[in-house]
Structure formats: structure tokens, C-alpha cells
């Protein structure tokens, strides 16, 4: 990518697990992955950031609750508010909610088990920084794997999310965890910050994923960066 565009940071917290997978996905999409370390208050001039999946700080206390206070989150919150694209996947989504960058919270799956399965999703918004390469209404299949993926918020917040079109993904073919209104992913008002429970970075190669449907997240943001 020219002009330094396409540098996508991937934060590693202690206990992050899918950080290298997120980096691989960025690379496969044609971007330049940049490793970011939780202890450093430095985003190394990246153009966008992925908060990856995993069990940051063991997911003790609540998922994402301890990671949210990491030094790296300071510049990240600031930049995100200023419009930098940020994607939170699974644990990353939990961190974004704990940081109040996204509303609501993620709670224990209603069936109380960790669940790992290939999950169908309906794309509800194809104009966020991370979903430009999808079509509205399109169905994609990517892995889902978590123990605390139930999206909850109070009715007023849920109504507002719907009214403002901030639900980006909904579960299709069965709700896997009791998420309110089948919500799998949401965005902030500006559409630059997206969080979702399923794992697009695990659906970028036919060999290792159920599909390559997840690649679109990363190509979307790279395109956005070029045209921005």
C-alpha cells in the first residue's frame, strides 16, 4: 500500500490468542499487520486497529474488564473517537463494550457452555469501515467460539441501536448464545468502530476455515483507508 496506508495494528494483551490469526488475515487481505503491545501507549502510526480474540487476563473478573485498563487503550480510545477504524473480535468486542466505546455488554451464554461452531450471520450494515465489501442482507458463515457471547443491553439502548441502524450483524439459522434480538455485532454512531463475537479472521482460507467469508472485513477496511 502506498503512502503508509494499510498499516493495521493488532493488539496483544496477556492472554490474547487470535492475535497472530488476525495478523495473518490482514496480510492475506493485502495489508501490513503491525503488532501492538498492551503495555505501550503507542499505536505506531497504524491506520486501523484490530482487538483480537482470546482470554485477555484470563477473562477473570469479566471478559475484557482488565484489558480495558491497559496503557495501549488510552491512545486507542482517543483515536477511535477521532474516527480511526477499530474492529473488536470476540474478546476485542468485550473490551470495546467494557471501554464504553460500544454500548451494552456480553454475558454468559444462555446454555452456559463454551460453544465452537460455524455460524451463519446476516450482514445488516454494509457501509461501516469494516463491512464495505459485503452487501446488505448477505449471509456469511464464520466460526463462533466463546463462553460469554450473549449480547445484552437495556431495551432503550436496543431500540436506539435498531433505530440508528447500528446492528451490523445478526445471527442467522439459530441464536447460539441468547443474544438479545439475535445481535452478533454492532457499530458506533460514526461506523468506524465495529465489534462482533464471531471470528472473521478464522474464515480467510479454505484450508483452515469453513469459508473465506471473513476476508471481506480486512479488504473492506483497506479499501476504506485508500479512499479516505
Amino acid at each position: 500500500m502506498s503512502g503508509g496506508l494499510g498499516r493495521i495494528g493488532v493488539v496483544t494483551f496477556p492472554g490474547s490468542l487470535d492475535d497472530r490469526d488476525a495478523q495473518r488475515a490482514v496480510r492475506l487481505a493485502g495489508g501490513e499487520p503491525v503488532a501492538l503491545w498492551h503495555r505501550e501507549k503507542d499505536l505506531r502510526q497504524v491506520d486501523a486497529v484490530v482487538l483480537p480474540g482470546g482470554f485477555s487476563y484470563g477473562d477473570y473478573l469479566r471478559c475484557g474488564a482488565i484489558a480495558r485498563f491497559s496503557p495501549v487503550m488510552e491512545p486507542l480510545l482517543e483515536q477511535a473517537r477521532a474516527g480511526m477504524p477499530v474492529l473488536g473480535i470476540c474478546n476485542g468486542f468485550q473490551v470495546l463494550c467494557e471501554s464504553h466505546l460500544l454500548p451494552g455488554a456480553l454475558t454468559r451464554n444462555d446454555h452456559l457452555h463454551f460453544v465452537c461452531r460455524d455460524q451463519r450471520l446476516r450482514v445488516e450494515r454494509a457501509d461501516t469501515a469494516w463491512t464495505g465489501d459485503y452487501e446488505q442482507g448477505q449471509e456469511i458463515t464464520v466460526p463462533l467460539k466463546n463462553g460469554e457471547g450473549g449480547y445484552v443491553a437495556d431495551e432503550r439502548t436496543l431500540d436506539a441501536l435498531e433505530a440508528e441502524g447500528r446492528v451490523v450483524f445478526r445471527y442467522a439459522g439459530g441464536n447460539p448464545n441468547g443474544s438479545r434480538r439475535d445481535i452478533a455485532g454492532i457499530t458506533n454512531e460514526a461506523g468506524n468502530v465495529v465489534g462482533l463475537m464471531p471470528h472473521p479472521e478464522h474464515a480467510v482460507e479454505t484450508l483452515t476455515g469453513p469459508t473465506t467469508d471473513g476476508l471481506g472485513f480486512f479488504t473492506s477496511v483497506l479499501k476504506r483507508l485508500v479512499t479516505a
Binding site: R20, F55, G58, L207
Partner: protein, 758 residues
């Protein structure tokens, strides 16, 4: 109430004190030592042992750590080891290391955590995963996958409802949090495991050749660093008899027999250790598992060239009331011990700090040949480390073929009533695939992350798990684990060979070339001559078969005393086979995905129903002889499967094992979402065709365009191959007998475990 005041507290049992008080009564029996063993310790030391020394010897000479009953039989794995240039590190280290080419090496090992998982299913299973992962890490490898061969009591027994969900969430809770994909395992139910569930755990690790690390302490002046979790009172129930001698009643709190795992701490330990390896900062390394520091220090010192001196009071504690004996014995999880050159210590500690891992220099390598341990400046241990770690007692336990063995083998399933027509066959098929052992295991495997690390090419439900090792070249490995306690009960020699044969076949079915073996030998009490005979026979069988198949045993684990009262579990040798595949994009899955592909059955089907799934499901019967072993045939079948995968001649393959053809057919159809039409070959009864468990067989799907080439290959190599049908439609149809729609098949196969466990 009389209480000892601190003033009355006995003096620290130092070496000097022990030398001066030869007549002191010591609780050797409570610590599980035999009288002659205690005498031998006195003999070795030339005095009575101190409390700390007694604690060390007793735990290191236990069955679990010293293999004293099994050693004489395990020897065969080395003696009969086949020539293999794939073996970089053989038996005896934490785990064997196998060369897979392109400068990569792989290490893998299976271990048991049976008893702890019965007492506390969640933590027992979780710490089982934690322990095996540290073993692999200690070899210098990055752990890349785990597997979990499990055995439980009857599926509908109330205690299974306690044990199974706990074990599964423990394995998932720990493995998922470590970020290791679970790529396979086994789930077997049999009332013989009631009260003695088997929780075995396997880990695979990958490294470059030059990264192999060994557990040894050499180089005088090198520092011994303990790093990871603080030491607490875990798993030292046994030595509290010592503690109670040295402390007043208010001293130590109750010592838990149960260990609690902290997978987050272990994840940090892994990343930290790998970074330390990358910078080449360690001269030797050892994980802390059973017997804790006693084991780590004595093994490191024993394997190295010098001695070792340890200042035990520098060990970071979670509980300040621990006695020195207890610190030596503690099995607190998530700890490692490294030997580091003095000028590398600072960098070592820096990396630990980066990962928030506590690290402490606790001692150093000395010139002599003694392991010396000090407590606040006083010497409490002074022993030759080899006598603790490697020269423990060896038993030649008596063994004898049990008197009931003949009767069991004579009870042939030929006498059992069989399904006589299409309707009965259909019902038998549905009952089989819905039975707990043959049913889908997704209720379990859906609780395991199989995607993390992004290199999982095959996971459950497949014949073997497959992991990509190198992104660029596609080099990969496949691993399968198998064991059939029913077969082994009927004939332990053959049973062990059949476990190997199945695992070997499973690996080959994925397209990988089988290279090496690990095993977990789960048996009853070695003090029972019948159980000991089963054990001896299984070892002999496995060693003979490994020699014949050219796959060396690289390491493993023995779990004895799996019995309640007089009743032992079925002898259960669990065998893991590791194979290599040059390009994972050539892998062969089990699912039938393309209509029109031709179904070939490789191998020969005979009437073999002893120990079969059908005899269990339909009649609750176990008797007769297990299927015949033909290792030459297994080897040929594997060659065919690997060649067919490499040359793109097959689209899917599924080995035949328990449940026979009907099981394989159902699984492949359900996985791929396509039906199949098959015809019973001339000369076979439909029942035998569908339910026999003859070995050396596989079901493959061949694209029409490849049929000639495939047939030519089979006939050129003398492999029986029969075209039995075609991938087609929405049902499994056995022509002239019955048809089962996929939806009905799926409902039967998938409803069982959720129905039992929620």
C-alpha cells in the same frame, strides 16, 4: 486441650541433626515406602534421611514417578525399537522428538490424569491439559494442539453426569484459554470405568531442529531459576504426615489434595518460555509436574554433569506456613525450572518481567555430584540425585494369565441372535449409530476451540486431527489416538496391537505417513497378577507391533491402580500415532461431498464380531476373540491411502473400526451431507458386511475419472478393493435391504449425547 507452643516445636531436621539422631522413628510407611525401600535409602545415605529427604525419596519412588512396576516391561519399547531415522530424541526425555523434514521437528505425548479427574472433574481434567502442555514446552517446542482420549462409566449412570460435563468443561476451559486447538480425542462409555474414569491428554508441539531442549543441569556456576506461579500447598496431602511432625497444630492449614489450574498463568508461561528459547537463554529446562521441585531438581541434577545447590527459602510462596518438605513436594501448577548461564540471567528475568511471570534464582549448578538443599542456611538435603530420580526401585511383579480368560474367549458372539431381514438390519443400524459410544460427539467437541492458531486442517469428526506446520510449504502433521478396552480385555496382546493398528490407519486415512507412537497404558492394580499379566501382554504386543510397522514409541505414560476393590477397568492401552504430510492441501477428509463418486471398500471382510460394538449395543455382550491383527496388511493399506491422497485419486476416506462399515458409511454421509447407495458383495451376508469389525479396511470415495488409476494401483500392490456403491441421494441405502434418510440418520446419531447431558 494441649497445644504445642512454638517453643516446643521440634528443631529443623537438618542433615546434621539426622546424622546425630539415627534412632528417630520416621513415617516411611505412611508415605507409601516399603520397609526395604526405607532401608535402601538409609543405605544410600549412610544415615537416616532427613524429613525433606524422606519426602523426596518417597514421592520420587512412588509408582507414579518411578514406574517401578512397569519399567521392566516398558524396556521393550527401547529394545525392540524399529530403526527409524525420524527419531531425534528417544524415550526417556520429557517427550520424544520426531523429524518431519524441512528442518522441523515435532514432539508429542499423551498422559493420564485419571484419579484427580474423578475426585474433582473440572480441575482434574484442566490440570491434566496443563501438565502435558508443559511437558511439550520443556522440550523446546511451541505447543500447537491438544487431544483428549476419555473413558467414562455407563452413559446413563448418575455419576457420569457429574464426571463427564466437569471433565469436558475442564479440558475446554483450560485448553481454550491457552489457545490450543483441540483436534480430536475419544469418548468411550463402559461400566468398567465407573469409579475409574480415564482422562488422558495429548499435546503436540513444533520446533526447529536446533531448538530442542533437554532436561539437564550442567555447567558449574549456572543458575537454577524457578519461574511461573508461586508455590502453594497443592497436591501434598501425603506429606502432611511429615508436616504434622514438624509443626504444631496451628501451623499448616489443611493441605488440599486437589490442584487448581490457572490457564492464564500457563499461557504467559508458554509465551515467556518461547521468547526465552528464541534468545537461547537456557542450558537446561524442566517442567514441574508430579512431585514438584523434588522431581525437577533431582532430575535436572541427575541428568546433568554436576551437582546442584538449592536455597529452598527463596522459593516464592503463596502460603507462608509451608514447611520445607511441603515446598519440595508441592504440585502447584504452572511452574518451570530452568538452568541458565550467569551472564544470561538478567535477560532471562527481564523477559519474565515482560510477561508478568515471577522468576527467582533458587540455586546453582555445583562442581560435585550431590543435590544439596538448604533452608535458611541449614542443610536439609544432601543426596546423590541419581538415586532419587533415576535409580529408584524396580519390581518384577508376579503376573499370571487369569483363570477366566479362556472362558471369556470361548464365549463366542456367533451364538448371539442376529438381525434376519432388512427391517431388522435397519433397526440394528440405527440402534448402533445412536448408542452412546457410536453417537456423534459434538456435544463435547463443540465446547472445544478447534480454530485457534489458524492452522487446523482437520479436526473432529475426522479420522485424525491435522495441523499445518509451515504456511509456505504446507508441511503438516496428523495425529490420532485410539484404544479399545473391549478388545484388550479379550486379548491384551492383540488389543494393544489393535489400538496401534487403528490409530495408524486413522492417520493414514487423512493422507499422512505414520511416523511415531506415544501411548498411555491404563490398567488395574499391578499387585494383582491378572492385571499385571494384562499389562505385560499389552506392552509386549505394542512393542512387537511398533517394530513391525516401523513406528517407534517415543514416550508415554502408565496409569496403574485403576480399579475399585477387586474390579479393575478393562485393560486400556491408548495409542497415539503421529504422521507427516508434505502438503496439507492434499489431506483426505471423511465426508462424502460429491455425488457420483464411487465407493470402494479396501481390505477383506470376515465374520469378526468378538468385542464388537454390535455385540455390546444389541446384546450387552463381551466375549470371543477380537478381530485378527494383520500388520502387513495395515502397512499396505496405509501406503495405498497415502499414495492415493498424494496423487489425488480419492476424494474422501474413512477407516473402518468399531461399528464396522455401517458406522463409517453413516459418518461419512452425515459429514459431507450426501447419501450413498451400496450393494452387498457376493458371498457376504448383509449383516457381516455391515457390522463386522475386520481390521485393515477403509472406505474411500473415488472420482470416476480416477477409477482406473486407483484400481490399477490396488491390484498392482495386492490390495483387495471392492466397488460397493456410489455417493448419491439423500439416504443411506443398502440395496435390497433398507434405506435410511439422512435426516433420520442424523437425528439418531446426534440426539444421544445432548439427551444424556443436556
Amino acid at each position: 486441650m494441649t497445644r504445642t507452643t512454638p517453643a516446643q516445636r521440634p528443631v529443623l531436621d537438618t542433615v546434621e541433626h539426622a546424622s546425630g539422631t539415627p534412632g528417630t522413628d520416621q513415617p516411611w510407611a505412611e508415605l507409601g515406602l516399603k520397609e526395604d525401600e526405607y532401608a535402601r535409602i538409609r543405605d544410600i545415605l549412610g544415615r537416616r534421611p532427613t524429613g525433606a529427604e524422606l519426602a523426596m525419596y518417597s514421592v520420587m519412588w512412588s509408582e507414579h514417578c518411578s514406574y517401578k512396576s512397569s519399567k521392566v516391561h516398558l524396556k521393550q519399547f527401547g529394545e525392540k525399537a524399529p530403526e527409524s531415522d525420524a527419531l531425534l530424541v528417544g524415550i526417556g526425555e520429557n517427550a520424544g522428538v520426531v523429524d518431519i523434514g524441512q528442518d522441523y521437528a515435532v514432539t508429542f505425548k499423551v498422559e493420564s490424569h485419571n484419579h484427580p479427574s474423578y475426585v474433582e472433574p473440572y480441575q482434574g481434567a484442566a490440570t491434566g491439559i496443563g501438565g502435558i502442555v508443559r511437558d511439550i514446552l520443556a522440550m523446546g517446542a511451541r505447543p500447537v494442539a491438544v487431544m483428549d482420549p476419555l473413558r467414562f462409566g455407563a452413559a446413563d449412570h448418575p455419576d457420569t453426569r457429574r464426571v463427564l460435563p466437569g471433565v469436558v468443561s475442564g479440558i475446554g476451559g483450560y485448553g481454550n484459554c491457552l489457545g490450543l486447538p483441540n483436534i480430536g480425542g475419544e469418548t468411550v462409555f463402559d461400566s468398567c470405568y465407573q469409579g475409574n474414569p480415564l482422562v488422558n491428554a495429548l499435546c503436540v508441539g513444533v520446533m526447529k531442529h536446533e531448538d530442542i531442549h533437554l532436561a539437564q543441569a550442567s555447567g558449574t556456576g549456572n543458575k537454577v531459576i524457578l519461574y511461573g506461579a508461586r508455590t502453594g500447598g497443592d497436591g501434598i496431602g501425603g506429606v502432611s504426615v511429615l508436616a504434622s511432625e514438624t509443626f504444631d497444630e496451628e501451623g499448616p492449614a489443611k493441605r488440599p489434595a486437589v490442584q487448581v489450574g490457572d490457564p492464564f498463568q500457563e499461557k504467559l508461561l508458554i509465551e515467556c518460555t518461547l521468547e526465552i528459547f528464541r534468545e537461547r537463554l537456557v542450558a537446561g529446562i524442566q517442567d514441574l509436574g508430579g512431585a514438584g521441585l523434588s522431581c525437577a531438581t533431582s532430575e535436572l541434577a541427575s541428568a546433568g554433569s554436576g551437582g546442584m545447590r538449592v536455597e529452598l527459602d527463596t522459593v516464592p510462596l503463596r502460603d507462608s506456613s509451608l514447611s520445607p518438605e511441603e515446598i519440595l513436594m508441592s504440585e502447584s501448577q504452572e511452574r518451570m525450572c530452568a538452568v541458565v548461564e550467569p551472564d544470561k540471567v538478567d535477560r532471562f528475568l527481564e523477559i519474565c518481567e515482560k510477561w508478568d511471570v515471577i522468576a527467582t534464582v533458587i540455586g546453582e549448578v555445583t562442581e560435585g555430584d550431590r543435590l544439596e538443599i538448604y533452608w535458611h542456611g541449614e542443610q536439609i538435603v544432601d543426596v546423590p540425585p541419581r538415586t532419587v530420580a533415576h535409580e529408584g526401585p524396580v519390581y518384577h511383579r508376579p503376573y499370571e494369565r487369569p483363570s477366566w480368560q479362556d472362558g471369556l474367549q470361548a464365549d463366542d458372539p456367533a451364538a448371539l441372535p442376529r438381525p434376519a431381514n432388512g427391517d431388522e438390519l435397519r433397526a440394528a443400524a440405527l440402534a448402533l449409530i445412536a448408542s452412546p459410544n457410536q453417537a456423534a460427539k459434538s456435544w463435547i467437541t463443540d465446547q472445544y476451540d478447534r480454530y485457534v492458531l489458524g492452522d487446523t486442517v482437520l479436526a473432529q469428526p475426522e479420522d485424525g486431527g491435522m495441523i499445518r506446520v509451515d504456511d509456505e510449504t504446507g508441511l503438516g502433521v496428523a495425529v490420532a489416538t485410539d484404544g479399545n478396552g473391549r478388545y484388550a480385555k479379550l486379548d491384551p496382546y492383540a488389543g494393544a496391537q489393535l489400538a496401534l493398528a487403528e490409530s495408524y490407519r486413522n492417520v493414514a486415512a487423512t493422507g499422512a505417513r505414520p511416523l511415531a507412537v506415544t501411548d498411555c497404558l491404563n490398567f488395574g492394580s499391578p499387585e494383582d497378577p491378572a492385571a499385571m499379566w494384562q499389562f505385560a501382554e499389552a506392552c509386549r504386543g505394542l512393542a512387537d507391533a511398533c517394530l513391525e510397522l516401523g513406528t517407534p514409541v517415543t514416550g508415554g505414560n502408565v496409569s496403574l491402580y485403576n480399579q475399585t476393590g477387586d474390579t479393575a477397568i478393562h485393560p486400556t492401552p491408548v495409542v497415539g500415532v503421529l504422521g507427516v504430510i508434505d502438503d496439507v492441501s492434499r489431506r483426505t477428509p471423511i465426508g462424502f461431498t460429491d455425488e457420483g463418486y464411487l465407493l470402494y471398500l479396501l481390505g477383506e471382510t470376515r465374520e469378526e464380531l468378538g468385542g464388537s460394538a454390535w455385540s455390546q449395543v444389541a446384546h450387552g455382550h463381551l466375549g470371543g476373540l477380537p478381530p485378527a491383527v494383520d500388520l502387513e496388511r495395515e502397512r499396505l493399506l496405509a501406503e495405498i491411502l497415502v499414495a492415493a491422497s498424494r496423487d489425488g485419486m480419492i476424494d474422501a476416506a474413512h477407516d473402518l473400526s468399531d461399528g464396522g462399515l455401517v458406522q463409517a458409511l453413516a459418518e461419512s454421509c452425515l459429514k459431507g451431507g450426501k447419501g450413498a447407495r451400496v450393494v452387498v458383495p457376493d458371498g457376504l451376508s448383509p449383516f457381516v458386511f455391515l457390522f463386522s469389525e475386520s481390521q485393515g479396511r477403509a472406505l474411500v470415495a473415488v472420482p470416476r475419472s480416477e477409477e482406473v488409476r486407483f484400481n490399477d494401483m490396488c491390484s498392482a500392490r495386492g490390495m483387495p478393493a471392492a466397488r460397493i456403491g456410489v455417493v448419491d441421494g439423500e439416504a443411506v441405502e443398502v440395496q435390497g435391504e433398507f434405506s435410511i434418510p439422512l435426516s433420520e440418520l442424523r437425528a439418531a446419531h446426534e440426539a444421544t449425547l445432548p439427551g444424556l447431558f443436556g
